[in-house]
């Protein structure tokens, strides 16, 4: 393959600002029935990066640290989940950086409580502030090419378009948007974030050319999270391989796989 053709979208590893990950699956740490169940699912998923949320510590009761329940080998990606303003998101990111000593942040600025759709305008503003402040910013946003370009122009290391509303499990609702984004931004690291419900959804996101998928509820709310984590791992590998392999062209009519010559006849 020529150098020009080896765009980011065809690299063997997931590249986030020069940090390479063998697994293209990033998973959340919420909604599990127990810490043990979470740990087992994390292990089964093969994920190398997990995302955590930032909240006020409860006062007057000693609380064990949630971080102690995570495999120390995992890269922790703090997020600004629950933030509805630029100011809250920026402050949350700065607090997370101080506590975790990481410049990675999954930026979320939510616009509405019912849909949890991102506020793209405020997300862009927060992204600009955080990039300037030295963060490696991974913004969650609507699956919109123009917004994607603006976030990349702002210096975001990767972009995280939604597949469907957070926690909905509806799967990729607008495959054309993701495909267009991939085709128009061959060098961008695109990680589909939110809305995946089962393995085929993850495979579809990857077949459309995503570099990775971030999910939480699909695994945590499965009847058997470990098994679903394995399914997701395989689906992401399968979808990635199918994308890189290049699928066949779709046809409206049949096209025989066997030679048409030499068929016996009476």
């Amino acid at each position: 393959m020529s150098t020009a053709a080896r765009a980011t979208s065809h690299q063997e590893k997931l590249n986030i600002a020069g940090r390479m990950f063998s697994s293209r699956l990033i998973i959340g740490t919420g909604k599990y029935r127990s810490h043990d169940e979470m740990r087992r699912a994390h292990e089964a998923s093969g994920a190398e990066m997990v995302t955590v949320a930032v909240r006020r510590v409860p006062l007057d009761r000693s609380s064990e640290s949630f971080l102690d329940h995570l495999n120390p080998a995992l890269q922790i990606l703090p997020n600004t989940a629950g933030c509805y303003t630029v100011d809250d998101a920026v402050r949350t990111a700065r607090l997370a950086r101080e506590a975790l000593q990481t410049d990675l942040v999954k930026l979320e600025v939510i616009g509405d409580q019912t849909t949890l759709f991102p506020d793209n305008e405020q997300t862009l503003e927060a992204a600009r502030i955080l990039v300037k402040d030295g963060f490696v910013v991974l913004p969650y946003f609507s699956d919109d090419l123009i917004m994607a370009k603006k976030l990349l122009d702002a210096g975001c290391a990767a972009i995280m378009p939604l597949a469907a509303p957070i926690g909905s499990g509806l799967g990729v609702q607008n495959p054309a948007n993701l495909r267009i984004m991939r085709e128009q931004l061959p060098d961008a690291t695109i990680i589909v974030d939110a809305g995946v419900g089962t393995a085929s959804d993850a495979a579809i996101a990857m077949e459309l050319g995503a570099d990775g998928v971030l999910m939480n509820t699909a695994i945590a709310e499965a009847q058997d999270p470990s098994k679903m984590a394995t399914a997701m791992k395989l689906a992401i590998e399968a979808g990635r391989l199918a994308y890189v392999a290049g699928r066949m062209r779709k046809r409206l009519y049949a096209s025989a796989s066997s030679p048409v010559e030499g068929v016996i006849s009476a």
Binding site: K31, V52, V54, L59, P78, G82, R91, L100, G167
Partner: protein, 67 residues
């Protein structure tokens, strides 16, 4: 003195931020502190002397993906 921690008014009988964290029995390595809207580096906690009416946010990490 009276300080506000995570929006809650508290009496604090001490001086430095380190003392406050110790009195609250919080795990220093797993939290982050904002004083009057500015993040305070852990290495600076000892030297930060709190004043009456100071406002602090003390956060930690919880399970979560997106929200």
């Amino acid at each position: 003195m009276k300080v506000f921690i995570n929006g809650e008014a508290r009496d604090f009988h001490g001086t430095s931020l380190t003392e406050l964290i110790t009195q609250l029995d919080l795990p220093p390595a797993r939290i982050a502190v904002e004083l009057n809207r500015e993040v305070v580096r852990r290495s600076d906690w000892d030297g930060i002397m709190l004043k009456d009416e100071d406002r602090l946010e003390i956060v930690h990490f919880v399970g979560g993906g997106s929200e």
